[in-house]
């Protein structure tokens, strides 16, 4: 198994930490993992993205140039990365922030109004984890348990009270994914 995920959005949208959460979960499951951010000058207040590789084999290069999954958190990221996804790959779009459509026909695409759903859960900060929930359900890349476990490691102790709402968000995402699969 080799999964290469690219998460892209604005700086400040939690793109990097969401990626780290995923990598951490992979590590907990004793997979080979690597995480790497883009670190161009564009980062300054502009777009931010990171690549996560989760694999059974040792990872040669952690650069994610042809993602199996792309998570899109703002419009410029869709413009920029749509073409790089492997044929048959997956794109998850936070449609609360991105009103644009994917043009390629050879991909699986899911639009998730993550901010709106997060608001419903009472905390807009968990939007990313809704999408992450979708991802793990659709791809089986890591288990829910591993992500929840990782939250404990990634969140500072004083934020551990947020773990339940984050877990809720993950589960909500998984549920959406299941509905989607059923629809297909």
């Amino acid at each position: 198994m080799l999964q290469e995920v690219l998460i892209a959005g604005f700086g400040g949208q939690g793109v990097l930490s969401t990626g780290q959460l995923l990598a951490y979960a992979g590590m907990i499951e004793n997979k080979q993992v690597a995480w790497i951010p883009s670190y161009g000058p564009e980062m300054r207040g502009g777009t931010a993205n990171c690549g996560i590789t989760i694999s059974d084999e040792p990872i040669s290069s952690p650069l994610v140039t042809e993602p199996t999954t792309l998570i899109v958190m703002n419009r410029p990221s869709l413009d920029k990365f749509e073409k790089s996804v492997v044929p048959g790959g997956l794109i998850l779009i936070n449609s609360s922030l991105v009103d644009q459509k994917v043009t390629r026909q050879d991909l699986q695409v899911l639009e998730i109004p993550a901010n709106r759903i997060a608001e419903e859960l009472g905390n807009t900060k968990v939007a990313n984890n809704i999408i992450l929930g979708v991802l793990i359900e659709l791809t089986g890349i890591v288990s829910l348990e591993a992500v929840v476990e990782s939250l404990k490691k990634v969140l500072p102790a004083r934020r551990h009270n947020l773990i339940p709402v984050n877990q809720q968000a993950l589960e909500k995402g998984m549920q959406l994914a299941k509905e989607f699969k059923n629809k297909q």
């Binding site: 604005f10 419009r75 410029p76 413009d79 009103d99």
Partner: protein, 72 residues
């Protein structure tokens, strides 16, 4: 009559123009531009005094100000 034009696709929604307009007639639009920002726009153009204070403050040279001079 003054016309204040915003190159909307270049606006980064920083709101600096809004904060300096003496007439308080600039707001951020609801929609996103291609960069993903809410662009600034003038709501009541007729109140505009063509003072160009907004343009002078804009870090991204988004704004152009033109004044129709009375033709006597």
């Amino acid at each position: 009559m003054a016309t204040v034009t915003f190159r909307e696709e270049r606006c980064k929604g920083c709101e600096l123009c809004i904060s300096v307009c003496p007439e308080k007639i600039i707001v951020l639009a609801e929609h996103y531009n291609a960069m993903g920002f809410h662009p600034a726009t003038v709501v009541e153009m007729d109140k505009c005094k063509a003072c160009a204070i907004c343009a002078r403050m804009c870090p991204d040279v988004v704004i152009e100000v033109v004044k129709e001079e009375k033709q006597d």
